[in-house]
């Protein structure tokens, strides 16, 4: 490919792809797990950029919103609180390297074999026609999800429900030593429950006053 033939989008793509590759590489090579998680965030962000280039703006933004904005935040939350002994984690790295390298190379070779066939060549896969001006990726996706893909979509919601049930089942326990309070109960507290107003004469005899002073 000649350098002159590149258009602006191509430059953006190559820049993003380079960042993405770098970030992805650093995810697995960074020594500090927090750094690795942050590089993963960068990778997500850059991947979203590439999707934007492909005019899939809903997916791109959803990737940022869901993965970067929520999932990775919680991930970082956990990783930051972990006290990971890196040396122990890296123990046996060299022992496992040969077999891991073998599997990795094999997978790469298989992928090359598949991607190298004519079915994935640029001639075989025709670039999709550009969309008309009023085309909304988001609306189209919504229409597809609620018509053609209704069943898997609803099933996904059931899977999420089960995930919630599972998480709560496995973690929620009523601890006796917990000091949490029920705000509804707190709000319901009336003045009369907490203080007792005692009616007393506002004026006291002077000799009594001197007595209390001595007592104090």
């Amino acid at each position: 490919m000649s350098f002159q033939g590149l258009i602006f989008q191509d430059y953006v793509f190559y820049a993003l792809a380079a960042i993405l590759l770098f970030a992805g590489l650093r995810v697995i090579t960074a020594r500090n797990p927090v750094h690795a998680a942050l590089f993963l965030v960068l990778a997500f962000f850059t991947a979203a950029g590439i999707w934007l280039l492909l005019e899939a703006e809903f997916l791109a933004i959803a990737l940022v919103l869901v993965y970067v904005g929520a999932v990775m935040v919680l991930f970082l939350f956990v990783v930051m609180m972990l006290d990971i002994n890196l040396d122990k984690l890296r123990e046996g790295f060299w022992n496992y390297l040969p077999i891991a390298a073998f599997v990795g190379v094999l997978m790469a070779a298989e992928m090359a074999m598949v991607l190298g066939t004519q079915y994935f060549s640029a001639e075989h896969i025709i670039a999709p026609a550009p969309h008309p001006a009023g085309y909304s990726n988001t609306a189209e996706l919504g229409r597809q999800l609620y018509t053609d893909y209704l069943l898997p979509f609803e099933l996904a919601s059931v899977v999420l429900l089960v995930a919630i049930v599972a998480a709560i089942t496995l973690t929620l326990r009523d601890r006796k030593e917990s000091k949490s309070m029920n705000p509804a109960e707190q709000v319901k507290v009336m003045k009369a429950d907490r203080i007792r107003i005692v009616q007393m004469a506002s004026f006291k005899e002077p000799e009594e006053e001197s007595n209390t002073k001595e007592g104090a």
């Binding site: 962000f45 703006e57 904005g69 935040v73 970082l76 939350f77 930051m80 990726n137």
Partner: protein
């Protein structure tokens, strides 16, 4: 221009677009910074009056030059880098806080056709940008290598993630009514006077959105991430000088942003409340100012929430309310009362 165009040949269109966009960005950012500066003054004045004080009144007329003086002071202060901190991330924190706060403005329409990038999924874009802002706080808290900063970062992360859900659901109601994710179209869908604005049919969502917005910006009474009295200053305890000022800037820019969004989505944006008065940018400004006043008012009025109560409010109160109201809206849309929600 002509000679420049010839010089760059086929690249000229791209350069031209980039140049114009940069100019537009500057045209948005500079007034925004000024707004932020005077927002701090307004805050001190308003809270001052609420507490029967005068507030800053020494620098310039009524203290009008006070923000400039503050900025100069912060600029000249030394930036201290804690020895045990993570150098790169320590400076990445403030940058990551301020960048999304500004980037989100790209899709905000100030008037009919007065917008930097009129994209279809504008609302989603803003949600995504505001959700990214939490990284600044987390990274700052972690990179400082300090207990208080870290506690603040954790609190902030949990709080922002929790309230984002309620906020997102509140916006789902809006986009159901407006049938669009484009902010301009959402505003136009509300045209026809104050009773056509979405604050009325979506009143519960409006309230939830606004309170969540206060929580999202870590403002009082949801400012447990800073919590001066318990964790000193939370995530930015180790920052000084300009790096601290950037956090400050981002907080106020975010306040203005969420107020603008509330104005656009629930109060009809640049539309005038009565149909025979012309619409315009000034209306948006007035509405945003009105909403911003609430932020100051809250800060002067409410004591800080306890952390578990914040979580309870977000998860057990706001999310159910928004879900319920979405069902109500969706249900009504199937009946002959659908016009109420359009």
């Amino acid at each position: 221009m002509e000679t420049l165009a010839n010089l760059f040949g086929s690249y000229w269109p791209a350069i031209e677009i980039t140049g114009w966009t940069l100019i537009k960005i500057i045209a948005i950012v500079i007034p925004l910074m000024l707004c932020v500066a005077y927002m701090t003054l307004a805050e001190r004045k308003v809270i001052g009056y609420m507490q029967v004080r005068i507030g800053p009144n020494r620098v310039g007329y009524f203290g009008l030059l006070q923000p400039i003086a503050d900025a100069l002071k912060l600029l000249f202060k030394e930036i201290i880098l804690p020895t045990a901190s993570n150098k790169y991330l320590f400076f990445l924190g403030p940058i990551l806080t301020i960048a999304p706060a500004f980037a989100a403005w790209a899709v905000v329409p100030f008037d009919l056709n007065l917008i930097l990038a009129d994209i279809d999924a504008g609302l989603l874009y803003i949600l995504a940008m505001t959700s990214v802002a939490v990284y600044g706080v987390i990274i700052a808290g972690w990179a400082s290598n300090s207990k208080y900063a870290f506690l603040g970062a954790l609190r902030s992360a949990a709080q922002i993630v929790s309230y984002e859900i309620a906020m997102g659901f509140a916006l789902v109601g809006v986009l159901m009514c407006a049938n669009s994710l484009n902010l301009g179209k959402i505003v136009l869908a509300q045209s026809g006077g104050i009773f056509q604005w979405y604050w009325l049919p979506l009143f519960p969502l409006f309230i939830v959105y606004f309170i969540s917005a206060v929580a999202e910006t870590n403002r009082a009474p949801f400012d447990v991430a800073e919590g001066e009295s318990e964790i000193v200053a939370g995530f930015h305890v180790e920052y000084s000088g300009m790096s601290f000022a950037v956090f400050f800037l981002a907080e106020y820019a975010n306040m203005i942003l969420v107020s603008t969004l509330a104005a656009l989505m629930f109060l009809g944006g640049w539309l005038s409340p009565v149909s025979n008065i012309p619409d315009g940018f000034l209306w948006l400004l007035a509405k945003v100012g009105f909403l911003l006043f609430f932020f100051l008012w809250f800060r002067a009025t409410f004591p800080r929430y306890r952390y578990d109560q914040i979580m309870r409010l977000g998860w057990k109160v706001f999310i159910p309310i928004t879900l319920l109201w979405i069902v109500v809206v969706g249900g009504f849309m199937q009946t002959r009362f659908a016009y109420l929600f359009h």
